[in-house]
Each structure stands twice: as C-alpha cells, then as structure tokens.
C-alpha cells in the first residue's frame, strides 16, 4: 500500500514536472505566442466575416446568430489546434532539442508524461480560447444576453478529455516519422472538425460523414457550446451532449495510450528515438 502511494506520488511529481517545463518554455517564447495569437485573431476574423458577407450579398440570415455560430466554430478549431500541437510536441520538440532519450529513459509512466502535456495544453488552450472569443466578440460588438458561459466552459472541459485521448494518438506520429509526423497532427485536426459541423450544421454532410460525426467528440462540443451561448441552455438540458463526450473520453484515453505505447515499442525496435535535426 505504501509502495503504491509512493509510486503514485512519484508519478504525479513527474506530471507536474512536464507542466512546469511548459511554463518555462511558454515564458521564454511569450512574444512568439503573442504573434501567433494575432494570427489566430486574424484567421478567426476572416471566418466570422462570412456572416456579414452573406448578408451583404443579399442572403437572408440572422447576422448576429450566424456570426456567433462561426465564432464558436473558429474558437473550438483554435482550441483543438493547441491541444494537438502541445501533445504532438511532447515528442517532436524533445526530439528537436535532443532531450527525447533522457525523457524516455526516465522512470515515469508514459500516461503521466503525456498527461502533463495534456494538463498544460488544456489550461493554456482555455486561456487562449477565452481571450480569442472575447477579442473577436468585442470586434463585432456581439451581445450575449442569454448566454450560459459556465455551461459552455464545462462542455469544453469535458470535451477536452476526448481531445486529449485523440491527441495522444497524434503524438505518436513524430515517433514513427521524425521528419513528417508532427505535420500529420494537423491532418487529424482537420479530419475531426470537417465531420463535426465546425462552421455548418452536421445535417448538410453526406450520410457517411454524418455517421463519422456521431463518433467525433467535436460534434457534441460544438453543439453543446452553441446551445449554451446562443440559447442559454443549462447543463441539465445539455446532457444529450455531455454523456457522449464522457463515453468517448473514457474510450479515447486508454485507446490513445495504447496506440502511443505501440508506437513507442516500434520506435525502440527501429531506433527512432535517436536525436535528429
């Protein structure tokens, strides 16, 4: 019992170490982060302006509602991008710096190692997503009289568990392909969102894509967040979005970890952990 408690303590210290390292690195690269945030704002504006463009072109839409719908899609896209980026960098960055072998020979479980990256990614991603939402909403002068932001935040946090699980699957890619693996993370992000109704209702998708939408956590995250912010839906009324997120989250974490472990075995068999670059 004491050994198990000691081991758990050791693992949690390791997890905190990964968070601590990411704090150090974020501090060192803070001006780059600010520049990237400006790019994210510009990118989000290009998407959100589409609502005004439709109206200017003679389309009949509720511009404020359409603007908010697009904004939520863009913010979730940016948030997912941060989660995947941090998790993929768990391997890619360490390989680039040359520290990967020291990290992988340390007596810390991979679950806690990746968990540290996930915890930091969620915290950092939430801060960035909230700031992005505030800046763009202020730019368009959007009013949120009925919005239930607390419920929207809960949905995003619950969805993060699934995003973390899927992110672990993408984090393995730089282990398998040191040169191109990290870029494949963007492919996974795009595939996930295209079937999830990021800027449009899922109903407009072909049948086979709608089937994929049912197993994508982003579908339920987008649906729940939109209902909470646009219609002020309460957490109780969002249960139909929450339970699938919990189920997908419970399945994706062990699946993601299993895939990462298989990738690690492959890397150790083929000598792919070596520093490169």
């Amino acid at each position: 019992m004491r050994a198990a408690a000691l081991s758990l303590r050791h693992e949690l210290i390791g997890l905190a170490g990964v968070v601590e390292r990411n704090v150090y690195l974020t501090r060192r690269y803070i001006y780059w982060d600010l520049a990237f945030f400006v790019w994210t704002v510009a990118n989000t504006l290009t998407i959100v302006f589409i609502a005004k463009g439709i109206e200017a072109g003679g389309g009949q839409i509720d511009v404020e509602r359409a603007t908010t719908t697009l904004l939520i899609g863009a913010v979730v896209w940016a948030y997912l991008g941060i989660i995947f980026e941090f998790l993929t960098e768990t391997v890619a960055w360490e390989r680039w710096e040359g520290t990967i072998e020291y990290t992988f020979m340390a007596p810390l479980s991979r679950a806690m190692h990746l968990g540290g990256s996930g915890v930091f990614a969620v915290l950092y991603g939430l801060v960035r997503a909230i700031l992005l939402f505030i800046v763009v909403a202020a730019f368009f002068g959007l009013a949120f009289d009925e919005a239930n932001f607390a419920a929207a935040l809960v949905i995003l946090v619950v969805a993060s568990v699934s995003f973390f699980g899927i992110g672990m699957m993408t984090a393995v890619l730089p282990l398998i392909s040191p040169e191109k693996g990290a870029q494949l993370g963007f492919v996974a992000q795009g595939m996930l969102l295209v079937v999830s109704g990021v800027y449009y209702p899922v109903d407009v998708l072909p049948d086979w894509m709608q089937w994929l939408a049912k197993i994508s956590p982003a579908t339920y995250a987008l649906d729940g967040i939109r209902a909470a912010i646009l219609d002020g839906a309460s957490l109780g009324s969002l249960w139909h979005d929450i339970w699938p997120l919990l189920v997908i989250g419970a399945a994706s974490i062990p699946l993601g970890l299993g895939i990462f472990n298989r990738g690690e075995i492959y890397a150790k068999r083929h000598g792919k952990l070596k520093r490169s670059g």
Binding site: H10, M105, R275
Partner: protein, 279 residues
C-alpha cells in the same frame, strides 16, 4: 527522495548474453537489408567497476548504451542491469541508470537550473528537494553560480557538459553510462570531466560503463578495456593484459592488432555496415 529499485547483493551491474541489435537499411545498391549494429555481444560488469569500451564511429558503442538504458529493444540475446532484465523490468532499470552522451542535449532556451528541475521531477524529486540539491550539485561540478539562470544556448560546450554531468548525478545513478562524454571538449574541460568520473566511482560507488574514442582516457579511468569493432566485442580485459595479448606497446597498437585498422582511421559507417549485411 529518489526511490531506487532494490539491488540484489549478488547481482552483476551489467550482464549481457549474445546481445544483438539489427537495423533495417535501404539503399539503391542493396535494396532493403538488415545490418547488425551489435552482433551477439556478451559481457559482465561487476558492481563498482569502471569498464571502457573502445571503438570507432559505427562500431556499436552507442547501440550498447541505448540497449542498456532501455531506449532500444534487442533483436536477440538478453541484458540485465543489477539483475533486472532491460526489456521485462525496464522501469526498475530506469531507476538505477543514467547517462551522459556526447551531445549535452538540453532545452536551449531554458537555463541550467530549469533544465535540471525538469529532469529531476521525472525521478520523483519535489521542488523543495531540488531547490537544495541543484545548487549543491552544480557547485560540485564546478559550474559558476552566476550563470545558473542563463539560457543553455549561451553556454560553451564544456559548460553544457558540466550541466549534463550534474543531471546524471542528481538522480544518484548506480550505473552511469558515459557515451563519449569528453569528445569535443577543450583539454581543461576534459580533465574536469575525467576527475568527476573518478569521484562518481570513489564517492558514490557508481558502476561506470565508458564508451570512448580516447585511448588515454580509457586506460587511465577503466579497470578493464573492451574493443568493439563492427558490432563485435573482440576483447575485454585490463589494458595491460590487452597490450600483452597483442604484443603491443600501446593501447593504440593493441587496437590495431585486434581490428586490423588504426584507431584514427575513421571508417565510413555505411562501409562498416555493408560488411555486416545479413540479408
């Protein structure tokens, strides 16, 4: 406090039997083939011993170190560290081993202190422990206190290597794997690192496996010297016995007699591998 795996008193520090590692190589001339980086290597290292392995680039030294530090999976044979199999008991092995390699390998934008804090957390050390231990250890390896908060990228290679030694010492390894730790260092830094290796052995009772290009370093630090050539361990014995066996006046001559090549004749890695084509 670092929790080490219990060490059976009778266990050898390192025990390898017919240890083998192959890699797949693809090129136009030969197509896809398997080459042996390590070919059925057997060796034993007793607790507290310092053993040096000499070999050219591509001879399999780093592969041996990576197998013992659980970073590679063997394709044949077995290896254990203090009785723990490196494949089946990898986590126990990781608690006992640390490594210093030719590349210092740190987060370049982070300071020595931050890099060491990060490394120590993986071994279960709390902030209160590292707050005391890191300044102590950096002082022991002769790292100037006023440079602890500078980014690593501002430090010389010698300075970076001192931080690498501090990282290894921080985790109190009972087996220290040194993979060309002094390559590329200026003479003074080289001597400092060598002095540190002696101290690790004398004060901390660490077992040391030193892979090196430096014949003088091997002779002065190690009780036994091995010659690894093209993945094969040709000999492993005290330097004097090695010289006597090959009728050589120096370790360099012994190396030449054993391998048929001079120590400084750097062989192209691919040419070396081509001779070991298996399939």
């Amino acid at each position: 406090m670092i929790e080490l795996a219990p060490i059976p008193p009778e266990a050898l520090a390192v025990e390898a039997h017919a240890l083998r590692k192959e890699f797949v190589r693809k090129d136009r001339r030969h197509g896809r083939r398997r080459v042996a980086a390590l070919a059925d290597v057997s060796l034993e290292v007793a607790r507290g011993e310092c053993v040096a392995i000499l070999g050219q680039n591509g001879s399999g030294k780093s592969t041996l170190v990576r197998l013992l530090s659980t970073l590679l999976l063997p394709d044949g044979g077995s290896a254990s560290v203090f009785g723990y199999d490196v494949v089946r008991r990898d986590k126990a092995v990781r608690r006992l081993v640390n490594r210093v390699s030719v590349e210092a390998s740190f987060f370049k934008k982070m300071s020595p202190s931050e890099n060491l804090h990060y490394a120590a957390r993986f071994y279960g050390m709390t902030p209160s422990e590292t707050g005391v231990r890191i300044p102590e250890i950096l002082a022991r390896v002769g790292f100037p206190p006023d440079r602890r908060t500078e980014p690593m990228e501002n430090l010389s290679r010698g300075m970076q290597q001192k931080v690498a030694l501090a990282r290894a010492l921080l985790t109190s390894p009972v087996l220290l794997l040194l993979d060309e730790p002094t390559t590329g260092l200026d003479p003074r830094s080289k001597l400092e690192v060598q002095e540190f290796i002696r101290e690790m052995r004398a004060v901390h009772d660490s077992t040391i496996l030193l892979c090196t290009h430096d014949l003088g370093e091997a002779e002065s630090l190690a009780g036994r010297v091995g010659i690894l050539d093209r993945g094969e361990l040709l000999a492993l014995e005290p330097a004097a016995d090695l010289k006597a066996r090959y009728g050589a006046a120096s370790l360099e001559e012994a190396f030449f007699a054993a391998t048929g090549r001079g120590f400084s004749d750097e062989e192209d890695e691919l040419d070396a591998e081509e001779r070991k084509v298996l399939a």
